[in-house]
Symmetry: C2
Subunit: 336 residues, 2 copies
């Protein structure tokens, strides 16, 4: 059912139908009513694909998410869709998975859909492959990264200072009396690399016996939440097996720490009395588990909101900083 079909049925031309559809002036009331009635009767529905083709710009914003199963990604996606819809845009949200090639490829897909702007969710997008793809495919439309940054004139980033944050977390453990603090990492994303750097800074500052810097874990990709917990369990087992004197562990993300707590519980190791534990994300999991998890709040949802607002400002020709860094905050609970 096209406007031509409607036009024929109403005995008018297609442009008249179009004008009625778009509430334009200069149409006889009688004609308008007649056309509206026929539109109704036929359940006419305008083809949005064609509209996007005809009407420039498209009013579409593309959102790329690495893994929507990650709870703060889901929360962030929810908020972004709300904000963007409220601003009169439509969201296309796509999951990329962990592969850098796929991320670069999805940038291209968004170009093909002629989006007006792009939001990249998570530090994992701050990669050279993505940068190249943006330079090649989207050099002229605004791109915002949540908790990441790429140095290009059309890219904007709001980040959390996770390096300083984890440094403070580690400092806290030493201050509380820990002598041997280890770091457990689940993957080498830019965000996690920053955390690792912060950890090392603190250890070099606080630990004077010259022993090794303890970093355990690996790059666990595309695994589900439950498996991440399992990895936390295993890595904690390994840490304590190889270093029985470890009395504090900082985990790159809460879920890993949850697995750690479960291992410690299984061995009747008291937390924080024997081993202190800190995670990162300040997720719901840390509030639910026992003992409650001390965690570094990276304010992901908050910076998502800011990033989204910044992007809309750019679209409205306002001046926006290309890089905003906000401090992280330690939420102390029972595990430290």
């Amino acid at each position: 059912m096209t406007i031509y079909d409607i036009a024929k049925a109403a005995g008018v031309s297609a442009s008249t139908v179009s004008k009625v559809l778009n509430d334009k002036q200069g149409i006889n009331e009688k004609t308008r009513d007649k056309v509206k009635k026929i539109l109704e009767e036929n359940n006419y529905s305008p083809n949005k694909i064609v509209k996007d083709l005809v009407i420039q710009p498209t009013k579409i914003i593309g959102v790329l998410v690495e893994d929507i199963r990650v709870s703060h990604h889901a929360e962030s996606a929810y908020i972004i869709e709300q904000q963007i819809t409220k601003a009169g845009y439509t969201c296309i949200t796509l999951s990329t998975g962990s592969s850098p090639e796929r991320k670069a490829q999805y940038i291209k897909i968004l170009e093909q859909r002629r989006v007006e702007a792009v939001i990249l969710m998570g530090s994992m997008f701050a990669l050279k492959e993505v940068k190249q793809s943006i330079e090649k495919h989207l050099p002229n439309i605004p791109v915002a990264i949540i908790n990441g940054y790429i140095d290009l004139p059309n890219v904007y980033g709001v980040l959390i200072d996770e390096e300083k944050g984890v440094e403070n977390c580690t400092d806290l453990l030493f201050k509380k009396g820990c002598k041997n603090v280890a770091f457990a990492i689940n993957s080498y994303t830019p965000s996690n690399n920053n955390k690792l750097k912060g950890f090392k800074t603190s250890v070099l500052k606080n630990k004077t016996d010259g022993s090794n810097i303890l970093v355990y874990g690996g790059s666990y990709k595309d695994i589900d939440l439950e498996t991440t917990i399992q990895r936390g369990f295993e890595v904690t087992e390994k840490i304590l097996e190889e270093n029985p004197n470890v009395d504090g562990i900082v985990y790159s993300i809460d879920l890993l720490a949850i697995g750690g707590l479960q291992f410690l519980e299984s061995k009747n190791i008291e937390v924080p009395k024997q081993v202190s534990v800190i995670g990162v994300d300040n997720s719901l999991y840390g509030k639910i588990c026992r003992p409650k998890l001390t965690s570094l709040d990276n304010r992901f949802v908050e910076i998502s909101r800011n990033t989204c607002k910044a992007l809309l400002d750019v679209l409205n020709k306002k001046e926006v900083s290309h890089k905003i860094i906000l401090p992280a905050q330690i939420i102390e609970r029972e595990s430290s």
Copy 2:
């Protein structure tokens, strides 16, 4: 940059460019190479909007999710996008929020985008408003509902028998010695109404003293996960305040039960010794909290996978049942 620009630069016609782009036969190798080179040099990117217009069908499947923050919705969305992408389709995933009108409206939006099929995630879509909207806007394309059902010739549903499941949960509590079991509900969705029905059946069967059937809670809409836990805390407080003899509570969803456990913990009420607790969803939260939560596994991710497969089968003209009902399974842990 259109194929005409490329054509001009290469000194050929647009159709030749199109043929090169689509790897068609019957093009001179030299021409092909020349065009390809110019394509490369200009970073040519085909306009997908136009392609969708020209090429029917669109190979797009629409997915509507009420609230992506709900963890099993996010997991389901992840899996669906993987499966659909693998089958050569593109996913448009949209969040509707709780309002029935909005859900109906989003059906219309999907029609306008000329999707080939639709997946509705969650029982909340089994509403008369949605049914009417499907009849009006998508009477001829396959629609699949995850854990819900609408009686229309083009609608398919895979459901979990949550009614029987909750009946079994409640039976379990009575069998374990509970005398007064209450039900806490977070919203009156079709799914939750079924659970409530199962609860009542069990109570009428097991409880013979003629006292009231205890149902507490309300319709909490569009609230975030943490607030849901808070509601669980409050409703549990109210249940025990008004009925001090309650010794078992079935919650419509795990998060509500988590809040319940937190209240019981705060009052030093032992679980399950003094009060037994059961949730529904078999979510990660129930495995993380202490005591670990007994929960009804509604196998949401599993039925998502089935639903998705069923829909793809329909698109491939295979015969598919319109309604499949699978049993739920109680996962017994420490709280009962």
